[in-house]
Symmetry: D2
Subunit: 282 residues, 4 copies
Amino acid sequence: MYNLLKGKKGLIFGALNDKSLAWKVAERAYEEGAELVLTNTPVSMRFGEINELAEKCNSIVVPADATSVSDLEMLLDKTTAHFGGKIDFILHSVAMSLNVRKGRTYDDLDYNYLNKTLDISAISFHKLLQTAKKKDVINEWGSVVALSYVAAQKTLYRYNDMADAKAMLESIARSFGYIYGRDKKIRINTISQSPTLTTAGSGVKGIDGLMDFSERMSPLGNATADEFADFCITLFSDLTKKITMQNIYHDGGFASMGMSYKAMKMYNQALNNSINSDEFSD
Amino acid sequence: MYNLLKGKKGLIFGALNDKSLAWKVAERAYEEGAELVLTNTPVSMRFGEINELAEKCNSIVVPADATSVSDLEMLLDKTTAHFGGKIDFILHSVAMSLNVRKGRTYDDLDYNYLNKTLDISAISFHKLLQTAKKKDVINEWGSVVALSYVAAQKTLYRYNDMADAKAMLESIARSFGYIYGRDKKIRINTISQSPTLTTAGSGVKGIDGLMDFSERMSPLGNATADEFADFCITLFSDLTKKITMQNIYHDGGFASMGMSYKAMKMYNQALNNSINSDEFSD
Amino acid sequence: MYNLLKGKKGLIFGALNDKSLAWKVAERAYEEGAELVLTNTPVSMRFGEINELAEKCNSIVVPADATSVSDLEMLLDKTTAHFGGKIDFILHSVAMSLNVRKGRTYDDLDYNYLNKTLDISAISFHKLLQTAKKKDVINEWGSVVALSYVAAQKTLYRYNDMADAKAMLESIARSFGYIYGRDKKIRINTISQSPTLTTAGSGVKGIDGLMDFSERMSPLGNATADEFADFCITLFSDLTKKITMQNIYHDGGFASMGMSYKAMKMYNQALNNSINSDEFSD
Amino acid sequence: MYNLLKGKKGLIFGALNDKSLAWKVAERAYEEGAELVLTNTPVSMRFGEINELAEKCNSIVVPADATSVSDLEMLLDKTTAHFGGKIDFILHSVAMSLNVRKGRTYDDLDYNYLNKTLDISAISFHKLLQTAKKKDVINEWGSVVALSYVAAQKTLYRYNDMADAKAMLESIARSFGYIYGRDKKIRINTISQSPTLTTAGSGVKGIDGLMDFSERMSPLGNATADEFADFCITLFSDLTKKITMQNIYHDGGFASMGMSYKAMKMYNQALNNSINSDEFSD
């Protein structure tokens, strides 16, 4: 639409299907004139949908395990070979917790699972950056963005060990942002996005309590995946060259709210009912 | 109980009645061995209850308008005269918004009222510190505490211009904390306290929605006025000499929460009801 | 360059001369296709340079005192009349401290000056927003940006009462951002910009210590006024619709740094010298 | 001195020698009336100094590897057996980075070392809390404190992967603080302490650049180990029951400073010299 990424080359991690944030970012980046390489885990390839995206965006797909340095080396080699040059922007949208999946609560973590959570959701980001810097494959004033969530700063029921992984991810963005900025003028930021409905999340009832609360707390409402993609484009563009080492909230205002009228009104309904019926205990 | 403030001399602003935070602080400071001077506005004297407190704490009451530099000069002179020496600690618990009282919403502020809100709730703190520094009436390693609220950082429905005043108050604590620390080794902090029931707040229904939400969000529950006093004592004591320019949350964990199980459960009750009855619009 | 603001109408406060951040923003916004109205104080008109800018940007200049509600009403009326429609974006770059100008230190503030600092640098922002909301002159999904500085959160020697004003300004952005977002889908943010050389700042020696420190601390170096303008454009565009109630650092990474190699190296030079010469006292 | 911990039972991790923060905390806690159990790694026992401390504090030493759940189980069993009851407070002062020790820079991390850094410096804290909760060995209203550093939020040259570990540590304090608070009324906080001279740090020159910078930036100067112990005592006492899920800065004001007069003066000396001698490049 604006040619904001004309001539730029980008690498996108984490597009699984058309509900993925990374999928939307790839589509928007392509619209804005970027050349792309897509990557995801070998396992996720089985679903095959990423190939549709690749076709749409005239890009290639390189399967790679983001926790494997050798896979990342291979990925970056293939990417620069495909582009015939260095990379301008990268989206890291990679996260998974076996503790969450297997229903382990935070006071009953499996520590092998925790190591996996950290390796996949945080350390993979460091491995990507370190491998890219050693190979010197990102152009000066390049931009790297990773996906975070407000749970990195505020505790949300059931977010579990992913909260700790996101806190570490944001720290890596700062720590590496300092070094990569100083040495190569490359900026690194994270975006803290509203909760968004994904394949896994779209259950029968259709509306999840936390998403509803978040919607009513946020003066502008929850941010959608399309809106996430729009914002991501600005961070990849040349218009934000001096923004680095930050976590920016793209959440309709949620992170700056303590309590909204709309959420309080809903809450009070339950409160009034429970008082009337003497169910005040918990 | 512990003699934590034995031999220390303190000045307490803002004790109105036995529900006031400042009242509890005075009681606890006295228990811990401190000598006290109490102050409040001339108007608040009419209610007379502060004289009970003074008697209980073997202290005097000096009426003073905290927004008047000449009143503050008089107050500090009388205080040091009474003590026969310098002051060791001060509590500033002074806040008022005519916009809130008169029901002006935040998008319909009266700017004369706003100026009063700022003068009473924030600038009075600077006036107190500047007057005290000029008169050099606080002992080295003295401690000054002002009362803040989480609204200084996160927006809460209806907290109105008091949020801006508290943000400014916390900034004054930092700005003056730097100078007073550097020049006289005096520390300045704010405490962000849970909402507490006060005379004004204790309405008919007895339970306010926000206090209930806050109670369920905070893993340890809302902090009481007595607990506030306990914490305040530690900040006045010699055990916290190197803590300065900070806002510390004394709130049972509220400020670090994004969503708790207990609050979500209550919220979901309303959500489920409203979905059933098609009242989802708002 | 990208037509990011094509068809949008913007009001710019604070362009004084071609060193002003607001000046650069006006130029860039015009390049990106926006129609503009410029405003500044009647006094600043005397210097006349803003008329050059207006000519360049094909805009008009409306002198107005940003602390006067009636002036703001007049300004908004003339602006919408000129546009023949509502406003899409506003830049508030208005700040002044007589305490700083007159050399009053922070522990010797003149309280009339302080009131002026607050009125000009913070309350004017509320007045603008309240007046705009009452007149309903900003389009849905409009964007308002005000200029802040890291001193709002961290104390910097000599920043004086401007630190408190900026803290209040950021609070106003949150407080009003909630209401304006909820009611009209309008977003409000502040940008915390690197120190930039202005007319006043460009002294004889040419390099100021704090700017040098800031340059060496920031991995990407200080952000320039041109870069500020670039970033501002993205916040005015349709690509950042769900970002609100935030302060974003546009500072080359400064705000996320505790200590850099480059700054430490410079500091150590002095340290080593002063140790050698027994000048360690201070 | 005050009997603040009379009748309380505490477990202290990380006392190595009389320069250790944990050593000072043990001494102060004992003075305040607490019964103690000390623990450290089996390797650190070789130095033998901890036995002196144990004798002084009338406590026992239980060697344990804090990264081993079975060692932690054994440790907690022996501790409660020794006390004949539950624990009231715990200090976690455990951190180590092989990347730092072996001189690996942050853009050349060894990932096995990183895993060790995380396991020792962050995950060990979760393992301790999870094991304690499963065994239910902490009394209601017990207090757990872990040692952090400002690098968790701001990047400091050479702090390396320890910054990421501390960010994760603070997240664990929040995440587990929520659950342990909700279920058992136990509070969990971290203290961000000034840099302090340790055995390793006390080199020939005697003054480290960062410590000098920190000293001059902090209005109250760097906090000492003795002062750390004093503050720690207040967090273990009954006076701070509603403080949880927080990181509190015990640093003389450093974390709230952007630039001080004293640090700027020193910096400017170098700046002026380097300008004079044309050494401005870097």
